[in-house]
């Protein structure tokens, strides 16, 4: 059991050979980390009642598997529906051959389906390590039978495609059905993060990551025009906001409550970023509920007036609407709408339509399809890439963020960003604008805080948006890769400014994987309120503590980084934007994956430290 190592692919577990970027935990720690703490020694239902006792594996053959299995098989923790994973597992094991893409050699061994994982034991003669896959990371499953064997193709949320060749038709069908059932479980509190207990991490460790409060301390040092309001303490005002938000000091909590009623989903304007050099601010909200009667809200108007008053005298305000003017007008026919010019003196409205929802998801699906289509002649690759429109979306997102950043830095204006609900493209624009302007958000810690504050706490509905990735056959309901688009834009920034980001591609890839399927609780649920109800903070581990373990963190660093105090203005010409090969072509990569290259680069830099160590160890000898 020593051989297993937790791979960076949060969605999966890999044998050591697979682990490229981040491997945390050392050998046997991993096995222990798999133990839902207490499950082994004081399992509520007792390990003996676990299927381990009816274990299909003769323990003599692979003792390590038995141990693991007993750990991984469904915890008998009563679930909300009272259903146990066990009922969903039709068959425990089969002899399989696993194909992991063109580069990796096939693995042969015994496959076992557990409550949260697929595991493959190579058997006693096997040379390779145990292989694990988090079931939640399976996006779609396809089965084919012919003769007395079958093939299951698993398409994962991290865009990997795996093929299992299984002996026996019955076994194939059973395993396929089990995977299908287990990977589509929607219940949050029975998901793996609630059982995952890695060694070296303590529960609640990184949940002190309270960015609104922490960020407020920074704002308070820069200006006193803003205050931290706990008006949303019980999430009654706005279910998708965190408990504490930063608002103009001049506006009291009662006024906020009335503002909230005037904005869709209660998302009243709050501070997203204070740009100290120009003394201006970036705000975000949802659309005002003006409706056909052109309703107004005195408190909402007062709030925006207070924002301008708190900034440099005479500072203009811009409302950046992420919908087209027409779409905004359309919204006004029902309940939504836009801020009327007359009601908000000093504020001007700009429309920058950004795609969201289904068209964005479809663009993502088409792109992944094109990337995976290796059979097809490559003649039309570039026009195919263009037809996916993904890079066009990247361009639009970046240029809108540039516009917001430009307004703050050069026009010294205050900017309010919103679309309709204000939890997708709004966040995309505000977070990218900060990376362009704010050197702190380009550091490792700053970027993590930004993601936590501007995406997770700001109520981007990860549970809905990332339910499926590009392979699902199901009709998309709420899925949209807005967060992936954000990561892609950050990658483009990193490519154009190779020295200015403290983190490398590895962190972005890790965030992509963990957003879609993760052993950590960070991306669970759609809002702070839901996370509170599910006790995510107390019962799961935070991704941030996983990523910030020194060993892992070091590898996510960009070795070229030097702090750059200036704004980074990207070129958004189509010639300057590239397909993010590290993500979209990750599993069909060039022979020297850039990660391996960066690994070398990193080694090179770390070697200086090594020399020093070396020196200090050699000195005592002398």
């Amino acid at each position: 059991m020593d051989e297993i190592e937790f791979s960076s692919t949060g969605s999966g577990w890999g044998s050591r050979s697979e682990v490229l970027a981040v491997g945390w935990g050392n050998s046997c720690e991993t096995v222990r980390s798999l133990l839902p703490r207490g499950l082994l020694n004081s399992c509520p239902a007792g390990v003996s009642s676990c299927p381990a006792s009816s274990c299909p594996f003769p323990s003599a053959r692979s003792p390590r598997l038995t141990l693991l299995e007993s750990v991984l098989l469904p915890g008998p923790r009563p679930t909300t529906g009272g259903m146990e994973f066990l009922e969903l597992i039709r068959t425990g094991r089969a002899q399989v051959k696993l194909l992991r893409g063109p580069e990796a050699p096939p693995l042969r061994g015994t496959l076992c389906v557990t409550g949260h994982h697929l595991l493959l034991s190579p058997g006693p003669q096997g040379t390779s390590d145990l292989w694990l896959l988090l079931l939640r990371s399976v996006d779609s499953i396809e089965k084919r039978v012919s003769g007395d064997s079958g093939t299951i193709t698993l398409r994962c949320k991290d865009l990997r495609v795996l093929q299992l060749d299984i002996e026996g038709v019955e076994a194939t069908l059973d395993i396929a059905r089990s995977i299908e059932a287990l990977s589509s479980l929607e219940s949050v509190i029975t998901s793996f993060p609630f059982f995952y207990r890695p060694r070296g991490l303590r529960l609640g460790d990184a949940w002190h990551f309270h960015p609104p409060e922490r960020y407020y301390k920074r704002v308070a040092r820069e200006t006193n025009a803003w205050r931290l309001s706990e008006v949303n303490e019980d999430f009654s005002l706005c279910p998708s906001y965190p408990r504490a938000v930063i608002v103009p000091r001049a506006v009291d909590d009662d006024a906020l409550a009335r503002c909230a009623r005037f904005r869709q989903g209660g998302r009243f304007p709050v501070l997203s970023y204070h740009h100290a050099p120009s003394g201006t601010v970036l705000l975000r909200s949802s659309q005002p509920l003006t409706g056909p009667q052109k309703r107004r809200c005195a408190e909402d108007e007062e709030l925006l007036r207070a924002v301008l008053a708190g900034a440099r005298p005479g500072a203009p305000g811009f409302i950046l609407d992420t919908r087209s003017a027409q779409a905004a007008k359309q919204a006004g026919v029902t309940v939504g709408g836009t801020e009327a010019k007359a009601a908000y003196p000093g504020w001007k409205r700009l429309h920058r339509p950004l795609e969201k929802g289904r068209p964005l998801q479809e663009s993502f699906v088409r792109l992944v399809e094109a990337c995976g289509d290796l059979e097809k002649s490559m003649d039309g690759w570039l026009s195919q890439l263009e037809a996916c429109c993904w890079l066009a979306h990247v361009k639009e997102a970046l240029s809108t963020a540039c516009l917001a950043a430009w307004g703050m830095e050069r026009e010294e204006a205050c900017i309010l960003v919103h679309g309709a609900e204000g939890m997708d493209n709004t966040l995309l624009v505000t977070s990218l604008a900060q990376i362009i302007l704010d050197p702190l958000s380009r550091t490792m810690t700053g970027f993590q805080e930004l993601v936590e504050r501007e995406w997770i706490q700001a109520g981007h509905p990860f549970q809905l948006r990332c339910a499926h990735s590009a392979f699902s056959h199901a009709q998309p309901k709420h899925e949209a890769p807005t967060f992936l688009l954000f990561l892609d834009c950050v990658w483009q920034l990193g490519r154009q400014f190779p020295l200015s980001l403290e983190f490398g591609e590895g962190l972005l890839l890790a965030l992509f994987e963990h957003a879609y399927a993760s052993p950590f609780g960070t991306f669970l649920c759609s809002s702070e309120k839901e996370r509170c109800l599910c006790e995510v903070r107390t019962r799961t581990h935070s991704l941030w503590s996983g990523l910030n373990q020194p060993k892992v963190r070091r590898k996510l660093r960009n070795p070229l980084y030097i702090p750059n105090p200036l704004a980074i203005w990207p070129s958004v010409e189509p010639q300057s934007l590239q397909l993010w090969q590290g993500l979209f072509l990750r599993w069909i990569r060039p022979p020297e994956p850039s990660q391996v290259a960066w690994e070398k680069v990193w080694q090179r830099l770390a070697s200086k430290e090594k020399t020093e160590d070396c020196e200090s160890t050699s000195k005592p000898q002398s």
């Binding site: 060039p590 020399t611 160890t617």
Partner: protein, 519 residues
């Protein structure tokens, strides 16, 4: 002054003189710039200015010397010393039992476009060579380019056989290829890569050329690599220019880029070179490469394959030797392809073959960021001076012409500039790895347009903060040097102290492999 070297046409418009820098109409320089001199009304007349510019921009048309002969720059390194063919062949382990160095072409009598020094099979006599020469286009006989240090298979280059419509045969040529095959006893067939598309090879028969047929050459297998000729490449690059200059195509950038087919051509060249490299490194067969004359596509294929196979060529000096050997000494017609100092920009002989080669190298360096000692700036500098005429390196079509003009005595070498300031051109991430074969992925998905070169004059695509990046590279290089030095000190210290270094489980002894592999 040096700017004018790259000039190729100009016209008078309004009150200013408009210059077409190279690329505007011919394709030679991808500088992609047009300059416009706005002159004040008073002072010199525009007409005079125009004439002076024309005269100096196209010296050959006005019987003036090329700038390189007037250039009096001094460098503390002499770039002409970089390449010494005997030394380079010795590095490859030549001569050996099967291959000898021949001086038959000492006075360029056998082949006027080949270098003076050739490596040929030991068993082929000078008379054999002369007879083979009659059957190869422009007497460019098969000679060795590179030999694998372990399996002793070779890359041999030449021009097409003069088969013609009637399907002529030449016993000496057939025998000669067999002798090449037999230099390595393990191989049963000699692989011939004809760089051209099949149809072009057939069409060449009409003009007296052709390819090695199965009936005549028994122990060979022939493959066509489908790389198009210089005219196709020139037109393709012209299309690239059209979409990036004067305005960069925006709305349908990717499909416009696709319609230039530039990347597709890059892909074919790389694919061909990969096949050559793979064949040789597998040890299954020696490889003979030719196209029509053996100085364009052949040079691309052999030099790229050698770059993949031999890590020596991935160092700065090694790359200079590679260019000097496979391109300059073996008669890539730089003067005709670039048209130095010549105003006839519509000349059909012009073609960006060498640029295409450098682009392929750049693509490889993208895919293997730690494999090359040089950086992007090195490649761009080479291309800049390919057109600039500041150095003698790329002047003239072949070694014999260069010797006649005494280029090495009368001009400065580009490598003098580069080698006297090597740090500027170093890649801080370079990891020296001996005997590693690089196989780039020659798939459209993994190739990109070299924006930093082709579109570098467009302010909207500005290379972001180039100076800090270079600054940081310099810092990293310094860090690396410091590290190496400290390690050497440590090794010295520890070897003095430890009687048996193998017993020490950690510390300097273990660090040693690190030094060699990573630095």
């Amino acid at each position: 002054m040096s700017l004018l070297r790259g000039l190729l046409g100009m016209e008078l418009i309004g009150t200013s003189v408009r210059l077409f820098l190279d690329f505007q109409e011919k394709l030679a320089s991808l500088d992609m710039r047009n300059l416009r001199f706005a002159l004040k009304q008073e002072g010199h007349s525009r007409r005079d200015m125009f004439e002076i510019l024309t005269r100096y921009a196209f010296p050959l048309a006005h019987s003036l010397p090329i700038f390189a002969f007037l250039n009096e720059e001094k460098f503390n390194v002499d770039g002409w010393m970089v390449y010494n063919p005997v030394e380079e062949y010795r590095r490859q382990g030549l001569p050996n039992h099967h291959w000898r160095i021949s001086f038959i072409n000492k006075c360029y009598e056998l082949c006027d476009t080949y270098p003076a020094l050739l490596v040929v099979p030991y068993r082929a006599s000078d008379d054999d060579l002369r007879r083979v020469a009659t059957f190869r286009s422009r007497n460019r006989i098969p000679v060795l380019s590179w030999i694998h240090p372990e399996n002793k298979t070779v890359i041999v280059r030449c021009s097409q056989p003069l088969v013609g419509m009637s399907g002529k045969r030449n016993k000496d040529d057939e025998k000669y290829l067999d002798v090449i095959r037999e230099t390595n006893r393990q191989i049963s067939k000699l692989t011939i890569y004809d760089a051209r598309p099949n149809v072009n090879a057939v069409a060449n028969k009409a003009t007296g050329g052709g390819y090695e047929s199965d009936d005549a050459y028994h122990n060979t297998e022939l493959f066509f690599l489908d790389i198009h000729n210089i005219h196709v490449m020139r037109e393709s690059l012209k299309k690239v220019k059209d979409i990036v200059y004067p305005n960069v195509e925006e709305s349908h950038w990717l499909s416009s880029l696709e319609s230039t087919h530039w990347l597709e051509h890059i892909k074919l060249v790389l694919t061909g070179a990969i096949q050559v490299a793979d064949k040789v490194s597998s040890g299954k067969s020696s490889v003979l490469v030719h196209c029509s004359d053996g100085w364009d596509r052949t040079a691309q294929l052999t030099s790229l394959a050698m770059l993949m196979l031999d890590s020596f060529y991935r160092s700065i000096e090694g790359f200079e030797i590679l260019v000097q050997k496979e391109w300059i000494s073996f008669g890539h017609k730089f003067a005709s392809r670039i048209g130095h100092g010549d105003k006839n920009h519509a000349d059909a002989d012009r073609s960006p073959i060498f640029l295409q080669f450098i682009d392929c190298v750049w693509q490889m360096s993208k895919q293997f960021p730690t494999a090359f000692e040089f950086n992007e700036r090195f490649l761009i500098t080479i291309l800049d001076h390919l057109y600039s005429c500041r150095f003698g390196t790329f002047l003239y079509n072949c070694e014999s012409a260069r010797e006649k003009q005494k280029v090495t005595e009368r001009t400065v070498s580009l490598w003098s500039l580069i080698n006297s300031n090597k740090d500027t051109y170093k890649n801080p991430f370079y990891t020296k790895e001996i005997n590693r074969v690089l196989y780039p992925v020659a798939s459209m998905r993994h190739l990109e347009l070299w924006v930093n070169y082709y579109i570098r004059w467009n302010p909207r695509i500005k290379q972001q903060q180039p100076n800090p990046v270079e600054q940081r590279y310099v810092e990293l290089l310094a860090l690396r040097d410091e590290y190496i030095q400290r390690l050497e000190e440590l090794q010295l210290a520890s070897s003095a102290k430890l009687s048996d270094p193998s017993t020490s489980p950690s510390g300097p002894a273990q660090m040693m492999p690190h030094v060699h592999t990573h630095f």
